[in-house]
Amino acid sequence: MAETKVKEQNTVASVENPELPVDPNWEPVIVGILCNWCSYAGSDLTGTSRIQYPPNIRIIRVPCTSRIDPVMIVKALQTTGDGVLVSGCHPGDCHYITGNYFSRRRFLVVKQMLWTMGYHENRVQFSWVSAAEGAKFAQVVTKVCNDVKALGPLHRFKKEDIK
């Protein structure tokens, strides 16, 4: 009884749904889908430069942001992810010349669609990080991590265990 009271005192209301309390010690899982040529190299630079960033991000390396089917983002939210970060080359810097121009269109549509479906806009975030921007990558991951921490665990449309 005493333990539960202590727990209740320590919780903060979720930004997404004020009725849901969030444990401040809870650590989110963020799925990072990074392009091989810029953002993945950028995250590598963050590591080799010894810049600290939250370890909550689980990185998936893809050849280009235009390889990312929007369904991959939805799937990440449906399984383990509480948030998704998609990152690629700056416009004009794509290794495949135009890949990120195509993906930019898809991202806008999928972001708006998920918002309409009731996902908070901070659950899915996008960024352009080049291979030289190690410090920016750390900032971006910290921001996404803090945003998702304020939202709390994702319960919507989660994959049920089939028995």
Binding site: E16, N17, D69, P70, V71, M72, V74, K75, Q78, P91, T98, Y101, F102, R104, R105, R106, F107, L108, V109, V110, K111, Q112, M113, T116, M117, G118, Y119, H120, Q125, F126, S127, W128, V140, K143, R156, F157, K158, K159, E160, I162
Partner: protein
């Protein structure tokens, strides 16, 4: 709007001139006033052909099945149907030489309760964009308006919207009638049919139904022409058009007023890009 007699005459003429092998049109139901799509193979049956404001189905869905594939086909299209036909031609699914298209300048269809359909009130293109022969008077393109149902949804709070879609997905029985009735879903093997793939499986749970529907929505983003064959086919009467209209709205507002299938050789919105596309949402 009654073009039954003219369409019957044209169909008989095309059969006698050997211009077509089959004719895809509407036939009146036996029990009620509604109509059913019907593939006519025999000119003697052509007196059963009708076209009134009850002719609401999109017939271009029947161009990619076995009965009509690689045959000479005559068909009736309204404004919305001609847009999906345009996309099918651009995507290489049907050959223009095999088709004889009768375009009808539409005044809007009515539903089973004899009320004008919601999609027809907001319709932008009433006269066909591609045809061999046109019936009725050509009408001008109308301005785009945001769907009324979508606006209602936009005013709801985040949790209300999430509840709305949770209920919608939990009511889905995964019969795939929406996919099957969609004229632009023509793949022989559909990704959402996989029993156990990385993304999809056949389980009938809320999240899996949602996943399948979301995949379907995203594959049709920038291509959907709002014919609402899916909603008509849905046995659970789910409001399937909402997210299609949502994607259509985002694409119209952000990508140079793109509307699917309005011009020949114009592919979906995701097949092209513009340097000035918005990216203020990207960090």
């Amino acid at each position: 709007m009654n073009y039954s007699k003219q369409i019957q005459d044209i169909a008989v003429r095309l059969f006698t001139e050997n211009k077509i092998d089959v004719f895809v049109g509407y036939r009146k139901n036996v029990g009620d006033d509604n109509q059913t799509p019907f593939i006519f193979k025999n000119p003697a049956l052509c007196d059963k052909l009708v076209f009134t404001e009850k002719s609401t189905h999109n017939l271009t869905n029947y161009l990619t099945n076995e009965t009509t594939k690689s045959k000479k086909v005559g068909l009736v299209v309204k404004g919305c149907d001609s847009r999906s036909l345009n996309l099918l031609l651009t995507e290489g699914q049907v050959k223009r030489d095999n088709l004889y298209i009768i375009g009808v300048s539409c005044d809007g269809c009515v539903d089973e309760k004899n009320e004008k359909e919601a999609r027809c009130i907001a319709c932008v293109m009433q006269s066909p964009v591609i045809y061999n022969e046109m019936l009725g008077i050509e009408k001008e393109k109308k301005t785009y308006t945001i769907d009324a149902d979508l606006l209602k949804l936009k005013h709801m709070s985040l949790t209300e919207r999430a509840d709305f879609f949770t209920e919608m997905f939990s009511n889905c029985i995964r019969c795939n009638a929406c996919r099957q009735s969609c004229p632009l879903c023509y793949c022989d093997k559909c990704v959402i049919d996989q029993d156990s793939s990385l993304y999809h499986n056949g389980a009938n749970t809320t999240s899996n139904a949602g996943m399948a529907l979301m995949t379907w929505y995203l594959h049709l983003a920038g291509r959907c022409v709002d014919c609402r064959n899916c909603e008509r086919a849905c046995p659970q009467n789910l409001p399937l058009h909402l997210l299609h209209k949502q994607n259509e709205m985002v694409i119209y507002e952000n990508f140079q007023n793109h509307q699917a299938g309005m011009y020949e050789k114009d592919r979906g919105a995701f097949y092209k890009y513009n340097l000035s596309d918005p990216d203020d949402f990207i960090m």
